[in-house]
């Protein structure tokens, strides 16, 4: 059974100038022990969706649909229950580890905090657990006494992961966990995340604009554009053989070094992601789509089966699958 199930989730920010539909009817599911990658650019709604999983959105956000964690609706939870679920059952690793840590408190205290708050350990036990956690993320135990500024970016991101692991959650949501890191440090952090998923059976939702990184870590991928999932399926199939033109563009944005096709030929999409308050009619991708048809400006295609456990929301996919 799936650990997490999103059923027709919509999120709208109500601001002074009107409603901003950030997420528009997203349904996804994540099996226990599996890793799902959510890809998209700024404004696609991917981070809003991640925050909604633990009800971390600001007050002006209205959330519709259902978010079932282990069968229990997160949106209907009482405050006390929600507090218990955060950290203990599901935790989040944010991007930009610089801002996630308190600069005037030692690393060890910060990792121990969720343990103490949730009464999962006494101070002595917490100290031992902190040492254990630091070791798990590849940092020496004495680092517990360091302040954030004494660590490098990669080390801080490891501390964030240690914090997320503190209460042994079953689900970790990682929002761009390696974006600000150097390639080699990024590789170290990704290897760590992969190990955690594989060895400890933790489920993972990882969010990034880099499809190649997601394909590397996750079993399945969902690609979001303008608040919707436009394609989902097994990672390597979506990455190598995308069925939605937007997914293809994302996959081509990071070239394979050594591939003669991309040599001296950077691939990009014209235009910019749409303003959620003024979405194009029909398929919201059509103004930037290299293969748009006339009907795309009026016809909004839903997700359509595109092979084994795959779906894509594109008129071309529908046409292909309909004609045998």
């Amino acid at each position: 059974m799936s650990l997490l199930e999103l059923d027709d989730v919509s999120i709208t920010y109500r601001i002074a100038s009107g409603d901003v539909p950030a997420v528009r009817g997203v349904s996804l599911s994540l099996d226990a022990g599996a890793a799902l990658g959510v890809a998209g650019e700024s404004g696609s709604g991917k981070s809003t969706l991640a925050m909604a999983l633990l009800r971390l959105l600001p007050r002006d956000a209205r959330v519709g649909g259902r978010i079932l964690l282990d069968g229990e609706d997160v949106l209907a939870m009482k405050w006390g229950r929600l507090r218990a679920v955060r950290w203990a059952e599901a935790s989040i690793v944010f991007q930009g580890a610089q801002h996630g840590l308190n600069p005037v408190r030692r690393i060890g205290e910060q990792i121990a905090e969720p343990l103490l708050v949730h009464d999962l350990a006494k101070p002595d036990g917490a100290r031992k657990r902190v040492a254990e956690l630091l070791e798990q993320v590849g940092l020496p135990a004495w680092r517990a006494r360091s302040y954030p500024h004494e660590l490098s970016g990669g080390q801080r991101q490891r501390v964030m992961i240690a914090m997320a692991l503190a209460c042994s959650p079953r689900l970790i949501v990682a929002d761009e966990p390696t974006t600000a890191l150097d390639v080699m440090v990024q590789a170290q952090v990704l290897a760590l995340i992969k190990d955690l998923v594989a060895e400890r059976g933790i489920s993972l939702i990882m969010i990034s604009h880099d499809l190649s990184v997601l394909a590397d870590v996750c079993d399945r991928l969902a690609v979001m554009y303008a608040g919707r999932v436009v394609e989902h399926g097994p990672s390597h199939e979506v990455f190598r053989d995308a069925r939605h033109p937007y997914s293809s563009a994302l996959a081509a944005a990071f070239p394979t070094v050594g591939d003669p096709v991309s040599r001296m030929a950077p691939k990009g999409l014209g235009g910019d992601p749409p303003d959620p308050m003024a979405l194009p009619t029909g398929c919201s991708f059509h103004p930037r789509c290299p293969v748009a048809l006339d009907e795309c400006s009026s016809l909004d295609v839903e997700l359509w089966p595109a092979g084994e456990r795959r779906a894509a929301a594109c008129v071309h996919v529908r046409a292909k699958e309909e004609t045998p």
């Binding site: 390639v183 080699m184 990184v213 563009a249 050594g258 991309s262 040599r263 950077p266 910019d272």
Partner: protein, 346 residues
């Protein structure tokens, strides 16, 4: 969507020596005091950017690539060695620097940070021409915006940065650089803060500027894919030195230095990964021998010993690589196992 140059491959690989060096670093060293010690941020570098050439300077944070770029721009003074532009040593007098900066322009990483939020696009692009007292400001601004792909330019004159998308803001920054009609752009991570789909468009713009205006560029980045996308040559920097350089096709398809090999191996889709442990060491304590030896996977695995160079790796300094366009590597092991062709590919 973007222009392709199918023939560029072989041309760049076989005839790299034809370009005249426009911007050069010669045995450049830049040191800073750091907590009572000397940080050797740039520790002996030869580098040349030819006319109409795009060179990628690749390395991790802390390797000295940004200090090197700043020194080439005249923003830092070299401790020793020299920067040369168009054959002449860079003069750090204020008048000479002002003239130099018309020729060599900087494009920064984060367009949101490098644009004043209270200046319109017009003001942002007109700033350079005003400082240099150029006539025909309006035409200059319009042309620069159009060159940077913001068309029609008049439509953007009165917009503020917050009304633009990330890609458009980066185009404004590039237009600001183009307004002075420079010969060289030095771009520090020009696409790192941009969305994936916009990234290709900005890189394509840099190729187009080279094609239309003959612009040279030094692109400072940690992104090997970027180098593959637009650069003719690549220089890989580690702890203040260039450890490998040469034509992109050669260096990135058959890297010879273990550090370059490790960087390549952690790219997604690479078959076998060499994840180096730890972080680049501190420029105040550069190890003796080969500066990479403490993290070197070839030394650690015993392959350097097999080639009989392990003692030299630990004790013998390597020379500073020349700035010439052909491929160079600063590695005892790679030099020992060659000249077997492609010998370093293992």
């Amino acid at each position: 969507m973007t222009e392709t140059q199918p023939a560029a491959d072989t041309a760049a690989a076989t005839a790299p020596a034809t370009r005249r060096a426009l911007l050069e670093a010669r045995d450049l060293r830049v040191e800073f005091p750091s907590r009572g010690r000397r940080a050797r941020a740039v520790d002996g570098v030869n580098l040349a950017v030819g006319e109409g050439e795009i060179v990628a300077l690749v390395g991790e944070s802390g390797c000295g690539k940004t200090t090197l770029a700043r020194t080439l721009l005249g923003l830092e003074r070299p401790t020793s060695g020299e920067v040369r532009y168009d054959g002449a040593v860079l003069d750090h007098g204020s008048k000479a620097l002002k003239a130099y900066r018309r020729e060599v322009q900087l494009v920064l990483q984060d367009p949101t940070g490098s644009l004043n939020p209270r200046h319109t696009v017009y003001e942002a692009v007109a700033e350079g021409p005003r400082i240099h007292g150029l006539a025909g400001e309006r035409e200059i601004v319009a042309e620069a915006l159009a060159r940077a792909g913001l068309r029609p330019p008049e439509r953007f004159f009165l917009r503020y940065p917050h009304e633009l998308s990330g890609g458009q803001r980066q185009r404004v920054v590039i237009a600001g650089a183009l307004a002075l009609n420079p010969k060289v752009l030095i771009a520090d991570e020009p696409v790192a803060s941009l969305d994936a789909s916009v990234r290709g468009e900005i890189l394509a713009l840099m190729l187009k500027l080279r094609q239309d205006l003959g612009l040279s560029a030094l692109v400072v980045t940690h992104d090997l894919g970027l180098a593959w996308n637009i650069a003719d040559r690549v220089a890989v920097m580690y702890l203040g030195r260039i450890v490998e350089s040469g034509p992109v096709e050669q260096v990135l398809t058959a890297p010879r230095h273990p550090y370059t090999q490790a960087l390549m191996s952690v790219l997604p889709e690479s078959p076998e990964r060499v994840v180096l442990t730890g972080e680049p060491p501190d420029p105040t304590r550069i190890p003796g021998g080969c500066r990479f030896h403490a993290r070197c996977q070839v030394l650690a695995s015993g392959r350097a010993a097999e080639a009989g160079v392990d003692a030299r790796c630990r004790s013998e300094l390597l020379d500073v690589l020349p700035a010439t366009p052909e491929a160079h590597v600063a590695c005892h092991w790679a030099r020992a196992v060659e000249p077997a062709p492609e010998g370093a590919g293992a």
